[in-house]
Symmetry: C2
Subunit: 159 residues, 2 copies
Amino acid sequence: MSRSDLARKVCGVSRTIEIVGDAWTLMILRDMFLGARRFDDLRRQTGCSPHLLSRRLKRLEAERIVERRAYSDRPPRHEYRLTERGRDLWPVVIALKNWGDRWLAAPGGAPIELTHRGCGQVTRPRMCCSACGEPMDARASVVSLSPAMARERDAAGHA
Amino acid sequence: MSRSDLARKVCGVSRTIEIVGDAWTLMILRDMFLGARRFDDLRRQTGCSPHLLSRRLKRLEAERIVERRAYSDRPPRHEYRLTERGRDLWPVVIALKNWGDRWLAAPGGAPIELTHRGCGQVTRPRMCCSACGEPMDARASVVSLSPAMARERDAAGHA
């Protein structure tokens, strides 16, 4: 199976991975959440080559995760903004950040600190149950597969 | 900058991305959270070639995300298990799943459903503020950078 076959999987994780499961794409998203909007800023902050960055941004635009907006007519200039769909990838970046902060501790504490506008306190957002609100981890969850997903996995198991 | 330079960044997101920001690695993690432990199962479920899978698993082992355990002496057989460090990547996979479920809706509803052991209810874990417990999204957070991180970004900005 090639990487692009992931796009045709029933599993939404696979299809999401096909779109954003790439180091440069994740770096671009990180930088956009940190406020970068212009091609040159994204290039400098991610360290991505102009060619790769341009390809990644085109893909993100095609997936409606990012949109290009003109901010000057003369000379013609545009910037990149996250769409609602793009902003909804924030938990992915936060989950990566939390893991890095915990397991790859940098000297001098967490490099990026977040404050919650709602309560005004420093926060480290974490996964909580949508039903009861309690924090959740892998051991606290039981997985069940939809019939379509179970068939897909079963078919793979007998391939 | 090459991809491996990400490992030397101050930013924990960059360094985490250098380790797990890869489609096959994320697929392997997804499958391990779904219970896969054996090489052949991982190969079938991810669709990864044996060579690539072997390389990815070696890297995950080197990063202490996965550990190899013998389950038979004759013939010698081993399986792969997530370590605590590995299980702590669960929010990354859940965040990818949530995005896929929301934005790439599959026919027939969410392919994977989670139940919270704690409360017994079907759940869709979401990011909540660690201080006040309320659900949080990108717009609800204010970012501040540590001095080391600000210097790194500043240096890149002037490169």
